[in-house]
């Protein structure tokens, strides 16, 4: 009798620790979740592919399908319109959407360290940040440009803004003197266009005090309330997927290439390897890094909200415990 009790206790504890107990305890049929990615298939989402292909989602009673994003696809809108149950969204995008009335809640903060950089042509005189004064600089639209704007404003720099969309060809053709870029993506695309590192100058926004967390896992508040255990399981499985991707990057890379090829997106292994290698350290903290895997800190949340509010991109931000309902409930 006693032994049975103890076994049950251990089972419950284990279920709790792995975060699967709730759904396991429920019906045997897995819950279908459509997860919309914020861009086309690439190594930026390696953790999701690994979690799906290695069965981390399934193990937690989730039947996840990954929907590729791309130009013109805003995951927040898809969630709002019910075309997906969960999505990966930038923190700033999520804050803006929330402010506009889309009731997003965050399940996990995947990318905790900023990967935004500004790249300038050396032959056009961009060697230090001050050199962008008065120059043509292409920047992504709001709110991706918020950290750049914040930086320029803080440094008193005025640039001639040119809208930047989904390619860097304008920069490559010399149409602008500098452009916004992700260290894990465009930086290497520039290299893969035959531009040598010595020909450009790169400024990392996180080194200049304007680094913000980026990709996070979100769903609508209502969905979270209805499927809280599944939402938490989704976050845990995705994080586990990233841990596994870090443990076996080449295995993850093979999955990335498979997804990219299946959706007929131009992709090559060299670039995806670079992307995975660059994004992993912004997700999994190294000793000394100030963040916890998968968690958004209150300070970063406040900084992001302040920056957006300062630029008039949002009026207000919801309290952290509203934005992060699962964290709030676990807090004592």
């Amino acid at each position: 009798m006693r032994r049975i009790l103890r076994s049950a206790l251990i089972a419950v504890l284990l279920a709790f620790v792995t975060g699967t107990g709730a759904s396991k305890a429920g019906a045997g049929k897995p819950l279908p979740i459509r997860l919309i990615l914020q861009w086309t298939h690439q190594a930026q989402f390696a953790g999701c592919y690994v979690a799906l292909e290695k069965g981390f989602y399934k193990a937690r009673g989730l039947d996840v399908s990954l929907l590729p994003g791309g130009p013109g696809i805003a995951p927040a809108t898809w969630l709002e319109e019910g075309k997906a149950e969960a999505g990966t969204i930038w923190l700033t995008d999520a804050l803006v959407a929330r402010d506009r009335g889309v009731p997003l809640v965050q399940l996990a903060q995947i990318v905790n360290r900023s990967n935004l950089i500004l790249v300038g042509w050396k032959n056009k005189g961009i060697r230090v940040l001050g050199d962008v004064e008065g120059r043509r600089v292409s920047l992504w639209g709001a709110p991706l440009d918020a950290p750049f704007d914040g930086l320029f404003r803080a440094r008193g720099l005025r640039v001639r803004r040119v809208p930047q969309y989904d390619s860097i060809n304008l920069f490559l053709q010399g149409g602008v003197d500098a452009c916004s870029a992700m260290s894990y993506n465009e930086a290497n695309r520039i290299y893969e266009a035959g531009v040598d590192p010595g020909e450009v100058t790169a400024f990392a926004l996180r080194d200049l005090g304007f680094g913000l967390p980026e990709d996070g896992l979100y769903c609508l508040e209502s969905y979270f309330k209805a499927h809280r255990p599944e939402c938490e399981a989704l976050a845990a499985a995705t994080v586990e997927g990233w841990q596994e991707a870090a443990r076996d990057p080449e295995g993850a890379l093979r999955l990335v290439m498979r997804y990219a090829r299946s959706s007929h997106i131009p992709a090559n292994e060299a670039h995806m390897r670079w992307m995975l290698g660059t994004i992993l350290p912004s997700i999994l903290p190294a000793p000394g890094d100030p963040w916890t895997l998968g968690h958004l800190s209150a300070e970063d949340y406040a900084r992001a909200a302040d920056l957006l509010r300062g630029q008039g991109l949002i009026r207000t931000a919801v309290p952290l415990n509203v934005f992060l309902p699962s964290e709030a409930s676990h807090a004592p």
Binding site: P163, S167, L170, Y191, E192, A267, N268, A270, H271, W274
Partner: protein, 640 residues
């Protein structure tokens, strides 16, 4: 090993090795040269092919560009109604086969504040030209490269190639021309799309066969056409370089997108084969065409050439082998014959003449020399035989003479048994060749002893016979003449009368009265004997003069006398004693003889003779004895 081979074999091996080496050098150089020539040919071919293909592509791109530019002029010059724009675009697509689609996209807001922007688009489909407004359906045309780049760069732009989603995954490139109002405001962009599907066909139809392939990269290095379909649009020359960590490939890519042309060694992306790459730019689009030729086609050609050369070379060497064998045989045949002949010669057969081949080469000279040597040897052998015979004859004669000489002198000591009034002892050691010493003694009556010593000139049998004659005559005359001088004079007459012999003899002859010790003597040119007195004094027999016997007839000989006391010793000798030579060529000499004799006082005749002979022998110490050595001692003991 070579040393153990015959000359012919060695010559063949060396000539073949040398010829083979030269052949190899020639073949190697030939292969190298032909490789260079083939490489040059290949370079010319690759460059020409690349340039021609690039030009062909260029022509197509230019015509598309011209169409787009014409369209831009029409749109900017004429105020057009939307239907007119559609009609224009339709006509462009219909009339230009290479134009896959054409757009006129206007900047939102240019036709009024509420204008959301329109993008007229006409595209070729199997059923004909289809018209649509790209702005419908959420397609943000104003964010596309084909729109943004000409707008921002303010010049016509070839887009990077892309897959056209709407048109069924066809690889396209778009030429976009910005259009401006007369007042300088930006109106929009007109474009012509060109399908790049024909490019791959174009490149695969190049006459490269199995020898290589062609590929095309865009302005930023993206592979637009390549035999490996997987590469197209996925990889760029730089991503491949990154993947393979091949910095040289990256450098090559940079040269290509800079619009350079060239011909460089290259390693194929796909086959990893060593190749050459000729690349030429397509100036209008900024693309670059690469034509790859595998190096192994050169290698194959060179190898084929090499095989032919090798076969020819082997054939040549075979011919050479036959030739060398024939030549070496013709050269070594007389040598072999000579070898056989000299073996016969060496075995001692000097009678077989050598056959001397005709001609005037070294072998003929050698054969002639051998023949001359054979003849010389033969003559020499004959001479040697004659000489040896002569020498043997002489030797025999000498032996005979020696025998005669030794038979003439008394050799039994003591000669007269029972005589106690004197002792007499003599030794005669003949020299090998010269010689002619003699001694003799005889009792004329019981009281008179005649003692003779002499030395005949000449040698051999004549000398021996002369000696015999001398002795016989002298013995006869001494029995008839009481005076030795008279006997000597008669002897001289006899010997001199046979004067054609030119021989003579030195003689000392004394007759001793054994009762009184009184001695009468005569001397014919002989060394005067010594008198070793019993008291120790050493005297010479008185000098009386007298020349050698038998040389000149009618010569007088004097008589002399001396008195012997009991114990006195008369010592006679020939010049073989005083002229005995030591190793250094010094003579024994009379002084040494006298000194030695003084020490021998009181000895018996035999002891004295043997002692003196011993001294002479010790002096000569093994030196060649050049003359007979004769010592004789007469010791008078007194009448009993």
């Amino acid at each position: 090993m070579l040393r153990n081979m015959s000359i012919g074999a060695r010559m063949s091996v060396l000539v073949l090795a040398a010829a083979g080496g030269v052949l190899c050098l020639i073949a190697g150089y030939g292969a190298h040269r032909s490789r260079l020539v083939l490489k040059d040919e290949l370079e010319a071919k690759a460059r020409a092919l690349g340039a021609a293909t690039a030009f062909h592509i260029e022509v197509v791109e230019r015509s598309v560009a011209k169409t787009a530019e014409g369209l831009a002029m029409a749109v900017s010059a004429l105020p057009l109604q939307p239907a007119e724009v559609d009609d224009l675009l339709r006509r462009v697509v219909e009339t230009n086969a290479e134009v896959f689609g054409s757009a006129a996209a206007f900047e939102p807001g240019v036709f009024g504040p509420k204008d959301p922007g329109t993008a007229h688009y006409a595209m070729a489909r199997s059923g004909g030209v289809v018209l649509k407004n790209l702005a419908e359906g959420g397609y943000a045309y104003e964010t596309q490269d084909w729109y943004v780049l000409p707008k921002e760069l303010k010049r016509p732009v070839w887009s990077e190639p892309y897959f056209d989603k709407g048109g069924g995954d066809i690889l396209m490139a778009t030429y976009s021309v910005p259009v401006w109002f007369r007042d300088g405001r930006f109106m929009g962009v007109v474009t012509c799309d060109v399908s790049l599907a024909w490019l791959s066909k174009e490149l695969t139809s190049l006459p490269l066969g199995e020898q290589g392939y062609a590929f095309l990269i865009s302005k930023i290095g993206t592979l637009i056409a390549h035999p490996t379909r997987q590469f197209i649009m996925n990889e760029s020359i730089f991503s491949l370089a990154e993947e393979r960590q091949d910095l040289a490939l990256r450098d090559l890519g940079r040269r290509m997108i800079r619009g350079e042309s060239g011909f460089v060694p290259f390693r194929s992306f796909t086959t990893r084969k060593d190749s050459y790459l000729a690349f030429s730019p397509i100036p209008s689009t900024g693309w670059s065409l690469g034509v790859v030729f595998y190096k192994d086609i050169i290698t194959a050609k060179v190898n084929a050439l090499g095989r032919t050369q090798l076969a020819l070379g082997l054939l040549g060497i075979l011919l050479l082998l036959v030739l060398v064998l024939w030549i070496s045989r013709s050269i070594t045949k007389p040598l072999k014959e000579l070898d056989a002949a000299t073996r016969v010669l060496a075995s001692g057969d000097l009678d077989t003449p050598l056959t001397i081949p005709s001609g005037d080469d070294e072998v003929v000279h050698l054969s002639s020399s051998f023949e001359a040597m054979r003849l010389d040897l033969k003559k020499h052998m004959a001479d040697l035989q004659a000489t040896t015979a002569a020498r043997e004859r002489v030797s025999r004669e000498l032996q005979i003479a020696h025998n005669i000489q030794m038979s003439l002198v008394p050799r039994t000591f003591p000669p007269f048994l029972g005589r106690e009034d004197f002792e007499i002892f003599a030794v005669l050691d003949p020299a090998r060749e010269i010689g002619g010493d003699l001694y003799d003694f005889l009792l004329l009556d019981p009281f008179h002893l005649c003692v003779i010593i002499g030395d005949v000139s000449g040698k051999g049998i004549p000398a021996a016979l002369f000696m015999a004659v001398t002795r016989s005559f002298l013995r006869a005359f001494l029995r008839e003449e009481p005076d030795p001088a008279a006997a000597l004079a008669r002897l001289n007459e006899e010997l001199a009368s046979q004067g054609d012999t030119n021989m003579f003899v030195t003689l000392f002859c004394t007759i001793i009265d054994l009762r009184t010790g009184e001695a009468r003597f005569t001397n014919g040119g002989h060394n005067p004997p010594y008198l070793l007195r019993a008291g120790g004094a050493l005297e010479s027999v008185p000098l009386i003069g007298g020349i050698v016997v038998g040389a000149i007839p009618g010569m007088p000989y004097k008589s002399g006398a001396f008195q012997l006391a009991p114990g006195d010793v008369l010592v006679l000798y020939t010049d073989g004693v005083t002229e005995a030579e030591d190793q250094a060529g010094g003579f024994f000499g009379e002084e040494r003889a006298e000194a030695e004799l003084r020490t021998l006082q009181g000895r018996s005749a035999e002891e004295l003779v043997r002692a003196l002979r011993g001294k002479v022998a010790a002096f000569a110490e093994g030196a060649q004895q050049s003359d007979d050595i004769t010592i004789m001692a007469f010791k008078y003991l007194g009448a009993k």
